[in-house]
Symmetry: C2
Subunit: 161 residues, 2 copies
């Protein structure tokens, strides 16, 4: 289900992702919404903070917990531009969010629908609703543009003269 409200929040996530890109981080942005109010935001901060868990979703969940005063984020929807990895999908289960909305799949590390079903798997003690594909072309282009540009910067000079 992609509706105007989801598109509105995903557009904000794309902006957060662009801020990460400006800091030379992989462009991923996330936010948490509770009762129509943004209670947490996050963007990739791994390189700037040299923090292996500095993913957009983790930052947004932790901010939401501080805002709401509880680790239990019942009623919260998390929006993110890229399908969560195993760490972030696991964090969404642990924080008991109601719903995940993401833009584009991650065939290499996506853990909600691509490689695993974390968040949909009834063996874990929480499942959540998943909506995907919201502003997918924009998110996919933002990510592939970033990696294209990084490859170009890293390209070695092959001519010896």
């Amino acid at each position: 289900m992609s509706n105007l409200v989801d598109q509105y929040y995903m557009q904000r996530c794309l902006e957060l992702a662009a801020q990460a890109e400006a800091r030379e981080e992989v462009p991923v942005g996330a936010l948490c919404v509770f009762e129509g109010r943004v209670v947490g935001i996050g963007s990739n901060s791994r390189e700037a903070d040299q923090n292996p868990v500095g993913h957009a979703e983790i930052d947004a969940l932790q901010m939401a917990s501080r805002t709401l005063g509880s680790w239990r984020l019942t009623g919260v929807t998390l929006y993110v531009t890229l399908e969560p990895c195993p760490m972030c999908a696991g964090a969404l289960v642990l924080s008991r969010v109601d719903r995940l909305v993401y833009a584009t799949k991650d065939p290499k590390a996506g853990a909600v629908e691509s490689l695993f079903s974390i968040g949909l798997d009834p063996r874990l003690n929480h499942v959540f609703e998943v909506s995907s594909g919201v502003l997918q072309p924009q998110a996919a282009e933002q990510l592939s543009g970033f990696f294209r540009s990084r490859r170009k910067k890293k390209k070695p000079r092959t001519r010896s003269c």
Copy 2:
């Protein structure tokens, strides 16, 4: 493989877990070792900090990254008393640790060997060595003792007179 060095560090993890239990957290303790030196420690802090990602492994990995000045924890072994959940197993992949040593399996949420194979799955961009069963009886008893005591505290009075 369970050797004396592994047992030594796992004993320290059991002590960290006991500190968590004293704060009424689920008793789980973790530490990171790099070149024979402890570079990160952690214990469950979810309740005290109301932080959904406040697991022992996450705290230990973040402290190790601060100590070593890098998100990339090549050469690090993480010790933990309980098999990591999806979030923590995912964080171990992201931080590129060399090795995981854990004490007791988690049949309900363990993501390295019980429910998933995160850390052993070659589809992800990093795998690590896994050793389990080190001080297993002590860790299992510490956890079951905690849950026994919590059930006793919560038990409702069923007699009406």
